[in-house]
């Protein structure tokens, strides 16, 4: 009757197991997986943007409540009053980004090519500052840059402070409460965000390319200019963005290390929202900042031609 039962023992199983579908997952599985996370972002990230846009065109007062009146003039008034803070944010964040690149590139290069067996240790030392609250570390800069402290006296005796105050970056023989202190704080705080992407893209470079460049009679500088730097461009692009974006919206450094003359747009948004409680103006300023950043990011990514940022 059943032939399979009378099979001689020891023979290989004749019929292969019934082919199971490779991916027995339902059509809707990805949507179920996405649902909670995406819903969270939609409700607590995207929806707030809509509320912010709506708040920015409201008028009213805290006592009587705010109503949407499509009062777009808030934007013009906000820009007219706070354009210096906007400009300052761009300048400070830009300066900090350039400094981060100048300081971070050698260190990233050192870790990628020259550190040898110390690579792990140096990498940990780069990430290590993250382990202490950044506010505490920013407060430490108050000590480092303090009036009459070692940094100020050295820079003073080298007449560096004369040059910087001529440039308008410092005032007299002070470092604290000057633009330079704020830029220094921003540079310090966002430096790891520059170093890590730089290191990632430098590390991917095939060492034989350097050897090849040397074989073709390129001196070290030419090798760097023609081989290493172009190949590290993805790191440069994402590093500059990861530094510039948070720096442009920061208000901690300007508050702790600066003065009323170094207020950035983040400071204005913070005071308007949390102290003055002028919500429409604050929302408008925040919206302008967001639009500016999105514009800069899009333009910059297009221009540099790298889409794989993260």
């Amino acid at each position: 009757m059943t032939t399979t039962l009378t099979k001689p023992p020891g023979a290989a199983p004749a019929a292969p197991p019934p082919p199971r579908p490779r991916k027995p997952r339902g059509r809707f599985t990805p949507y179920w997986l996405l649902l909670p996370g995406i819903l969270w972002l939609l409700v607590f990230f995207a929806l707030p943007m809509v509320y912010q846009a709506s708040t920015s065109v409201q008028t009213g007062s805290l006592e009587d409540g705010f109503q949407v009146t499509w009062h777009f003039a808030t934007y013009w008034e906000a820009l007219a009053e706070y354009w210096p803070q906007f400009l300052r944010s761009v300048l400070y964040a830009g300066a900090a980004t350039v400094l981060c690149l100048a300081l971070g590139y050698p260190l990233a290069y050192l870790i990628a090519f020259r550190a040898g067996r110390w690579r792990g240790v140096v990498l940990i030392l780069v990430i290590a500052p993250f382990f202490t609250s950044f506010l505490i570390r920013t407060l430490a800069w108050k000590t480092i840059l303090s009036d009459g402290g070692p940094v100020v006296s050295v820079l003073n005796s080298l007449h560096v402070l004369d040059v910087t105050s001529w440039l308008g970056l410092t005032q007299g023989d002070r470092l604290l409460a000057t633009p330079l202190a704020v830029i220094c704080g921003l540079t310090y705080n966002f430096l790891p965000f520059m170093i890590l992407p730089l290191y990632t893209s430098l590390e991917r470079i095939d060492g034989r390319l350097h050897a090849a460049a040397g074989d073709l009679y390129a001196n070290p500088f030419t090798t760097f200019r023609k081989v290493t730097f172009p190949l590290s461009m993805p790191g440069v692009v994402s590093g500059t963005l990861l530094t510039f974006i948070p720096a442009s919206g920061d208000y901690v450094n300007a508050d702790l290390l600066g003065s009323t003359d170094t207020r950035m747009i983040g400071n204005v948004i913070q005071t308007q929202f949390l102290r003055i409680l002028d919500y429409p103006t604050a929302a408008a300023l925040s919206f302008i900042l967001m639009a500016a950043i999105l514009f800069i990011v899009t333009f910059y990514i297009r221009k540099s031609g790298t889409e794989d940022l993260v």
Binding site: F44, P48, A128, L139, W141
Partner: protein, 263 residues
């Protein structure tokens, strides 16, 4: 001279490294200070007072405990949601995929103050009481993208044939996931979770907007910059640093041993 030229990049790199570490040293040294007056910015004399009594200032340790609690919950929430999103993005082709990717990317490309302010307008409009829950909601929101990115990178580099092999060996979907997929993805998940914890624990700007009168540790430090900085802040900063370094070293040791065993 040629030595200098060859090692210029090393010297420049080490200067940057010093710049990065200097503040941590200052925090360490000033944890042994005995300041005159309320602010701990100028060196006076050596003292162990703050180390003997790290919780000696009112509310300091309470805020620390609150921050740890929020960070733990935010890590859990962001990791669970983030792992699900990451797997969906890597393993499935579906409509609106690029929209989802953009939604994940945007929070990382946005200045914190914008997210903080807009979230506050939502809470104000909804009449939500600011406090523990609003902080937690905000932290899960901004940690999520980082977890997704970390896990995605790991899952993408995974060989899909390993899972197919498991299924060929008659492992069910659940068994395949638990015994093959999850162990391979674990380093990515751990990295994402660690990042989420660090980001949440140290977050100031978003918390500043959405905390109401709740005081987390960064909020406490911020307030102390106005009121007067107790030495205990430096003690806690230094202790955090030491614990984290020890954890990293332990992780490296375990990793090395694993590698040796695998050989």
């Amino acid at each position: 001279m040629s030595w200098l030229r060859r090692n210029l990049v090393v010297i420049a790199g080490l200067i940057t490294l010093a710049f990065l570490i200097l503040p941590n040293l200052v925090v360490l040294v000033f944890s042994f200070n005995k300041p005159k007056g309320r602010f701990n910015y100028a060196w006076q004399e050596f003292s162990l007072d703050a180390w003997r009594d790290p919780c000696g200032v009112a509310d300091l340790c309470g805020s620390l405990a609150l921050s740890l609690q929020i960070a733990a919950w935010a890590t859990l929430g962001a990791t669970v949601l983030g792992v699900m999103v990451a797997f969906a993005l890597v393993r499935y082709r579906f409509r609106a995929r690029s929209t989802v990717s953009a939604l994940i990317f945007l929070p990382m490309a946005m200045p914190e103050v914008v997210m903080a302010a807009s979230l506050l307008t939502l809470f104000l409009n909804m009449g939500v009481q600011l406090g523990f829950w609003t902080i937690l909601i905000a932290h899960i929101m901004f940690c999520l993208s980082f977890v997704v990115t970390a896990v995605k990178a790991r899952v993408m580099s995974m060989d899909p044939r390993l899972e197919q092999a498991a299924q060929d060996l008659y492992a069910g979907p659940v068994q395949t996931f638990l015994r093959v997929t999850l162990p391979i993805a674990a380093p990515g998940i751990a990295a994402g979770a660690l990042l989420a914890f660090a980001l949440s624990f140290d977050d100031f700007i978003i918390t500043n907007f959405n905390a109401g009168s709740t005081v987390t540790f960064p909020m406490y430090v911020w307030g102390s910059a106005q009121r007067g900085t107790p030495v205990q802040i430096n003690v806690i900063g230094t202790a955090m640093f030491a614990v984290a370094i020890l954890l990293v070293l332990a992780g490296m040791l375990i990793g090395n041993r694993r590698k040796k065993q695998a050989r």
